[in-house]
């Protein structure tokens, strides 16, 4: 989409030309359109592909949905966002038309009350929507679930995540220093999107775990911070590895945070091999992990009561609670074939006070 195809007349015929309702903004020939877009505040700080009518029409070929169909009310301004507006921002993010259905489903997911994009923007914690794509569409559009899956280098991963953020910025009006009050922010607020390595896992997929059919195309959005590496290069057994992963997970966000914030564990292929070799499936893994994630409340209170001037409660002396609420740890398989690392993505306030992980089926 970075090359204007010059097919605009043909496309105008097909779409009737007037099907695009967005305001036209002319760029004077003496002006650089990229600079003008920066000046207007339409970018996330990186250059964008200028959204010409021709490019937007081509983008709209990626979906069967009508340009004027309302996709969602986008926070923070709760503005009606049409398929056309999503397409414009997808062009700017650098998407191919084949990515558009994923972007549309992800926009729907982040704009639900459950996911609470407004709160995610407004919080001082540097969290943002983390997108995980499941189903055949991931391979078909060239998403990366392998080497450097959470990093740079793959157009689909990066531009899909970026398009969602641009919709929130441009349509919803959510901008740093405005509604967005993040203390530090995070690279994850620019684009954090990857697909699960489904072929390489003996387990059910994240989408299956969340009630979808394996052949369905699904995007799951999770409110998370940047990924943190969990190193374990010594465990030879599933029992040892699960214990080591739990040590890392217990520290997610803070040792003191118990049940109040979710997490996402991204297991690498070499770590997954330990569980495969031991015949553990997803259920067995979660069952074995659970006791290692029990937190002794007395221990936390002992550490903290002095500073906050609170009396340690005798009643809690023997109380243990799980690090994550039921369903509060999402587990995904992704990463390169070499590397005895996994990764944890810490979450944010969960439940009605915060954000619920949300999944949406991707439709054409």
């Amino acid at each position: 989409m970075t090359v204007d195809p010059g097919r605009i007349d043909e496309l105008r015929v097909r779409f009737g030309g007037s099907s695009l309702n967005s305001r036209r903004v002319e760029v004077a020939s003496i002006e650089d359109e990229t600079e003008m877009i920066f000046q207007r505040g339409w970018t996330d700080g990186l250059p964008v592909v200028p959204p010409t009518a021709s490019r937007v029409l081509r983008m709209l070929e990626g979906t069967t949905r009508q340009p004027d169909e309302v996709v969602a009310l986008v926070p923070p301004n709760l503005v009606e966002c049409t398929v056309e507006k999503v397409a414009i921002n997808a062009v700017m993010a650098g998407c191919r038309p084949t990515y558009l259905p994923v972007v549309l489903a992800a926009v729907e997911a982040v704009c639900t009350d459950d996911f609470n994009m407004h709160g995610i923007l407004a919080t001082t914690m540097g969290v943002g929507p983390v997108l995980v794509v499941n189903g055949p569409i991931a391979k078909r559009i060239g998403m990366n679930s392998g080497v450097n899956a959470l990093g740079q280098g793959n157009r689909a991963n990066l531009t899909i995540g970026r398009a969602v953020q641009l919709v929130v910025r441009n349509v919803g009006g959510g901008r740093p220093g405005g509604v967005d009050r993040a203390t530090h922010g995070s690279p994850a607020k620019l684009s954090f999107c990857f697909s699960e390595d489904e072929a390489g896992t003996p387990w059910t997929t994240l989408a299956e775990d969340r009630g979808f059919d394996r052949n369905s195309d699904v995007v799951t959005v999770f409110c998370g911070e940047a990924p943190r590496i969990l190193v374990d290069q010594k465990s030879r057994s599933a029992e040892s590895l699960v214990q080591m992963l739990a040590e890392g997970l217990r520290a997610s966000i803070s040792h003191d945070v118990v049940m109040g914030m979710d997490g996402m564990l991204v297991i690498s292929p070499e770590h997954m091999a330990r569980f495969r070799d031991s015949g553990w499936d997803r259920e067995r893994f979660m069952t074995e992990l659970a006791p290692h994630l029990m937190i002794d409340l007395a221990e936390i209170q002992l550490n903290r009561s002095g500073d906050l001037g609170q009396e340690s409660s005798e009643n809690n002396a023997d109380l243990k609670l799980p690090k994550f609420r039921p369903g509060g740890l999402l587990v995904v398989h992704a990463g390169g074939s070499a590397g005895l690392f996994s990764a944890v993505v810490g979450g944010w306030l969960n439940g009605p006070m915060g954000s619920e992980p949300t999944s949406r089926e991707i439709t054409p």
Binding site: L20, E33, N170
Partner: protein, 97 residues
Amino acid sequence: MDESKTGITLLDPTSESTPTKRDLSPRSASIGGLTIGLLDINKPRGDVFLDRLEEHLGQRGATVLRFAKPTFTKPAPADLRHQIATQCDAVIEALAD
């Protein structure tokens, strides 16, 4: 005259809730007593035009300060714009052709 040609047209990616036009800065009733900056964009003959304007403005009770851009091909440097904005009540930029 490159300036007379228009460039490409983009589609607005925003909700379009912001007005297309911003209003101009509030104006005074008259120029008497104002400090008016004359910004020369550095095209030939512009200085003669500005010299004459300076005479006219002086006769109407305005104080005139003169500024010049290094080149007419680019916007004025930020430092210069800041200097003008802090020293002047109004600005005339000339002469683009």
